[in-house]
Amino acid sequence: MAEDGAHPPPRHAPGWERFEELHDVEGLRRSLLGCVSRACPSWLSAQREDIVQAALVRILEALRRRGESDRPLPASYLWKVAWNATIDEIRRATRRGERGLEDLPVDPPDRAPRADPGTMHASAALGEAVRECLAAMHRPRRIAVGLHLLGHTVRELMEMQGWNEKQVRNLLHRGLKDLRACLRRKGYER
């Protein structure tokens, strides 16, 4: 029987059916896939579905170990379990990717990282340049730009830092201007 691409649900896992009855597992799978896709750099993107699949199995295992797989639990608690499972899987995938990059000359092609190594090296070099530029920036600007680069929106910056909108926009405007100027000095032209 033909089967589709490589991500069957772990229905063989004991307790899976009950887990599915209690929780919106398909919704969770989608949520996690969205989170992992948005959080992970492109050099990990080929692995995101594997990461989510393995994380789902880990979540069930964690709940089973604690005797919690057969009853409804608060969403906040389950999201915490999901966090632990997913970050563990991302760290495993990251280690594989990093090892692949370091081993590149001796690895056969099918074990090499799936991202283009030249692009990865260029991206890593830009990352170093950005870090050096951030380190030289005034602290409030560095925090504002840094949080923005970590994914936070203006509104989230306001909530997190207790700044008003004008402050956030000013810090971001000036901080990003500093960053652009610094990167230009390092040879990163538009």
Binding site: E21, S37, W79, T86, L150, G151
Partner: protein, 233 residues
């Protein structure tokens, strides 16, 4: 790299490790990063974690994941992003399932594109399809893909096929691997769907498409498949 002000590229760069390079100090624990990204630490401690994360690709990724999951947990303050993990609620699920029409998807996809431009974040799923729990037909007959995984789908004739319970009609929803909607169909009477070639035209060779089908039977009862993944030629 020619566009230093491209925020996405800078984010990507901070999350890309340089072989042999190590961050200045030890990494904070995962739970500390999560608490910091969620705004649950005092300012001084949080900012110390920010400083570390910006210097450490692993912790950059962890921070971004914690932030994304916090948003997901909060449901973005919108019912279009129903929080997963909610216990199965048949009535609510059916209401969501009814909203999942091609016209609705198109409108939501357009809205998502606008939101994307507005916030400069990653791809948004326009609306979460109804959960599978609590929606199976009696007997719980699963829907199975009949697409041959050993061969890529020809993009000029990408036919998705599946088998499942007896139903009145089928709905199909197809996205790219980053969950951008590319095609959908409603009220199919046969368990097959040819993805329009023009919907696949912009995808690179070897791209993966993600698809899901919903069987609709009498009294609007729905059976929803899990998500299938197929590779294009």
């Amino acid at each position: 790299m020619t566009r230093p002000d491209d925020i996405d590229r800078l984010r990507e760069a901070l999350a890309t490790p340089r072989p042999g390079a190590r961050p200045a100090g030890p990494c904070p624990g995962d739970d500390v990063i999560r608490a910091a990204a969620r705004g649950e630490l005092a300012a001084a401690r949080r900012e110390a974690v920010v400083d570390h994360a910006l210097g450490c690709p692993d912790c950059t990724i962890a921070w971004r994941l914690a932030l994304e999951m916090a948003r997901e947990e909060r449901g973005h303050g919108s019912d279009a992003t129903a929080v997963a993990f909610r216990p199965a609620d048949r009535a609510a699920a059916q209401r969501r399932a009814r909203r999942w029409t091609p016209a609705r998807v198109a409108v939501l996809a357009a809205a998502a594109s606008l939101a994307l431009v507005a916030v400069g974040l990653g791809v948004l799923w326009p609306e979460r399809p109804a959960p599978s729990s609590g929606l199976r037909l009696a007997g719980g007959v699963a829907i199975r893909s009949l697409v041959d995984a050993s061969r890529p789908l020809p993009r000029d004739n990408a036919v998705l096929r599946w088998e499942g319970p007896e139903v009145e009609s089928w709905d199909v929803f197809v996205t790219t691997s980053d969950l951008t909607p590319i095609a959908s169909a409603h009220g199919l009477t046969e368990p097959r769907y040819r993805v329009p070639p023009e919907a696949l035209a912009g995808l690179p060779p070897g791209a993966r498409i993600v698809w899901q089908v919903t069987g609709v039977s009498v009294a609007d009862r729905r059976t929803i498949s899990r998500t299938f993944v197929s590779t294009l030629d």
